[in-house]
């Protein structure tokens, strides 16, 4: 008898890191993906890619900010257990500009925190019904300390980290349910193409492989790559008097 396929539902599937994680899954598993995102063309391109790698894919377009969305209906559209719920959508804005317009501030928080929390809460209920499975969300090292250059994005990711912490506590007695927060550091993606590259940058393929590793092993909080844990430890440990003199 062949192994049943690995089934994942991915919110924000077209994000570079989520796409890389999905490709990585197809290398070792027969897989079935429900790809949820905003743009049908992009979802289609991604689905073609993953199908060529051998996965079974369907797509679902959605506006993450629509408060009337029935997330549990999407999850239950396909019967059977999900092995993985992955929440990966996000937005990184030009912060200085955004801070001058309340609507932009609200939008950043809505995309990067509110919609994640909404979906995560729904997934948590689904996990409880299933009795097993993994919920993973993509946070960021930016959430570890508020820094002048990106605290709008960072604070939303910090909120997400706390939310995931809480969910982990909530499911602590359910041994087969895992809550994973992935914290990528600087990643070579279209979003960062114009930033001069330092050795701190990792490729999306590498981050994807490490992300899948963390999901597979149910690591509660995974820095991608792992050495970011120590960099962020140093950044958190720096006294404010010193920290505020930097331009980080």
């Amino acid at each position: 008898m062949t192994k049943p396929p690995y089934r994942a539902i991915v919110f924000g599937a077209t994000s570079a890191i989520a796409s890389a994680i999905l490709r990585e899954i197809t290398r070792s598993h027969s897989a079935e993906f429900l790809l949820v995102g905003r743009n049908a063309t992009k979802l289609g391109n991604l689905a073609d890619d993953l199908r060529a790698y051998g996965a079974n894919c369907s797509i679902h377009t959605i506006d993450f900010l629509d408060p009337t969305t029935d997330w549990s209906a999407i999850i239950e559209k396909q019967t059977g257990h999900w092995d993985l719920f992955l929440i990966a959508h996000g937005s990184l804005c030009e912060q200085e500009q955004a801070l001058t317009r309340s609507i932009d501030v609200a939008h950043e928080i809505a995309v990067n925190f509110t919609s994640h929390a909404t979906i995560a809460a729904t997934c948590s209920a689904a996990l409880r019904r299933q009795g097993r499975g993994t919920l993973a969300a993509i946070g960021s090292v930016a959430g570890d300390r508020g820094r002048q250059s990106n605290f709008l994005y960072g604070s939303a990711k910090a909120g997400l980290a706390t939310f995931m912490d809480g969910l982990r506590h909530r499911h602590a007695r359910e041994k087969d349910i895992h809550i994973v927060l992935l914290k990528p550091g600087m990643t070579n993606s279209p979003m960062t193409a114009d930033i001069p590259k330092s050795p701190l940058f990792s490729s999306t393929a590498k981050v994807g492989a490490l992300g899948w590793e963390a999901i597979r092993r149910a690591t509660p909080v995974a820095y991608l790559p792992g050495w970011w844990r120590w960099i962020m430890f140093a950044i958190r440990a720096t006294p404010a008097a010193l920290f505020h003199r930097t331009k980080l």
Binding site: D48, A52, D194
Partner: protein
């Protein structure tokens, strides 16, 4: 947006250009000009650069589109690396139709430079295995070109000047093993090299490493390398390199002494006249990929690569003369490769390979002395009816380019008006009007 610096592999001088980074096929743009697509930046000279223009960075267009397991035809976005193609193909029992010395080139770059590999004598160029491609031009909506179409022939080896290749189909070849049975054979002189090439017709892959600084009555010494796919039925994948050159090494790292020492060690890497071994495809085809950023060993000043082909009809004497000049100038480096090209023509109008012997050799940039040597080599190549490889070039003359590539006029009809490159600008400098009799 602030312009970025783009280096080619030789790192002679960067081009300063605007960067566009389409993340999806439909985001790629062919307007406004001047612009040029860039893949992984492995062209050595300036054919992949456009100073002052817009460079369309295709790195993130790396998705597969479809794969037909019955026929082995893979359709993928043009920014995918050959490394990623192999990661997909090898576990499924497929391989590239032909591969250059590195996996770190993009599919689009492989087509635009019509790259060749160790099996050229049997299968031709990369462009012989691209049944279809999609081209985004500034003067037309995206179009599909098939083998046989003039625009397809212009785009194969077309140096990116016919528009942006958005996706392409590649005919993979089936393999039962990721390993090759390999023979290393020592030789002296070009006639021994040619004899070995001729008796290796049953070997799919052949190439020779030569010690360009070796002296002696018997002529240039070298190691002839030939391989064929093994029966050892393991389809294991290559691994990523662990080593990296983190910065430009000081300029004196490579000098005639260190190069001689390296060559002597390399030549003596096995005992006896021949050695049989089984090698994985990665060390066999892609020895350079074992160290990331190896081009930095040449230091801040960068390096040139000189790759020419001398036609079969000219015999071995032009190549003998080229090797003699290089040896006497005491220049050149350890990465010297000799190979015979076969007679299967590529569809590409500007494709480099032509039946004969090709030499590819790195030269640390020693300024005027290096350029002076190249001028002498050019004369020999010109006089025997050979030509130089644009993908490796930063300094050939427009005259030599026009003389070497007879289908240039035909090619120019397919140029995209919005596309250009530093190489192309160099080649298009107005030449003196021919005198009419």
């Amino acid at each position: 947006m602030k312009p970025s610096a783009f280096h080619s592999w030789g790192r002679l001088r960067p081009a300063i250009a605007q960067r566009e980074t389409p993340a999806w096929r439909h985001e790629a743009q062919a307007n406004p000009g001047p612009r040029l697509a860039i893949g992984l930046g492995r062209s050595y000279g300036d054919s992949g650069l456009l100073d002052g223009g817009t460079m369309v960075d295709t790195r993130f267009l790396d998705r597969l589109i479809s794969f037909a397991p019955e026929s082995g035809i893979l359709r993928a976005e043009a920014g995918i690396s050959l490394d990623a193609v192999l990661r997909f193909a090898v576990p499924r029992g497929w391989f590239l139709p032909t591969t250059p010395g590195t996996r770190q080139v993009s599919l689009g770059g492989a087509i635009a430079n019509d790259i060749h590999g160790k099996n050229h004598q049997l299968v031709g160029c990369f462009g012989n295995h691209v049944p279809r491609l999609a081209l985004l031009r500034s003067d037309a909506p995206q179009q599909e070109c098939r083998a046989g179409d003039p625009l397809h022939a212009a785009t194969i080896g077309g140096l990116g000047l016919t528009g942006i290749i958005t996706w392409a189909e590649l005919q993979l070849r089936p393999i039962r093993s990721a390993w090759l049975d390999v023979e290393w054979i020592r030789f002296h002189g070009l006639s021994e090299f040619l004899a070995l090439s001729q008796e290796s017709t049953t070997w799919e892959h052949s190439v020779a490493w030569i010690d360009c600084l070796s002296t002696g009555k018997q002529g240039t010494r070298g190691i002839f390398i030939r391989g064929r796919w093994s029966d050892h039925a393991e389809l294991d994948l290559h691994r990523d390199a662990k080593l990296r050159i983190p910065f430009d090494l000081p300029g004196f790292t490579l000098n005639p002494l260190s190069i001689r020492a390296f060559n002597a060690l390399y030549y003596r890497r096995f005992r006896g006249p021949t050695k049989h071994l089984r090698q994985h495809y990665a060390p066999f085809f892609h020895p350079l990929d074992s160290v990331h950023d190896w081009n930095r060993i040449y230091g801040k000043k960068g390096f040139y690569q000189y790759q020419c082909v001398t036609p079969t009809t000219a015999g071995t004497s032009p190549m003998e003369e080229i090797l003699r000049l290089i040896r006497n100038a005491n220049q050149g480096s350890f990465l010297a490769v000799l190979k015979t090209f076969g007679s299967l023509p590529s569809p590409g109008m500007l494709s480099f390979p032509t039946p004969g012997i090709t030499l590819a050799l790195d030269f640390p940039n020693r300024g005027a002395a290096t350029l002076q040597l190249f001028k002498q080599l050019d004369t020999i190549v010109r006089d025997c009816g050979g030509r130089l490889y644009p993908a490796k070039d930063s300094r050939m003359s427009a005259d030599d380019f026009q003389r070497g590539y007879q289908r240039l006029g035909e090619f120019e009809r397919h140029l995209d008006p919005a596309f250009s490159s530093d190489f192309w600008r160099r080649m298009s400098r107005p030449t003196p009007q021919p005198r009419h009799p």
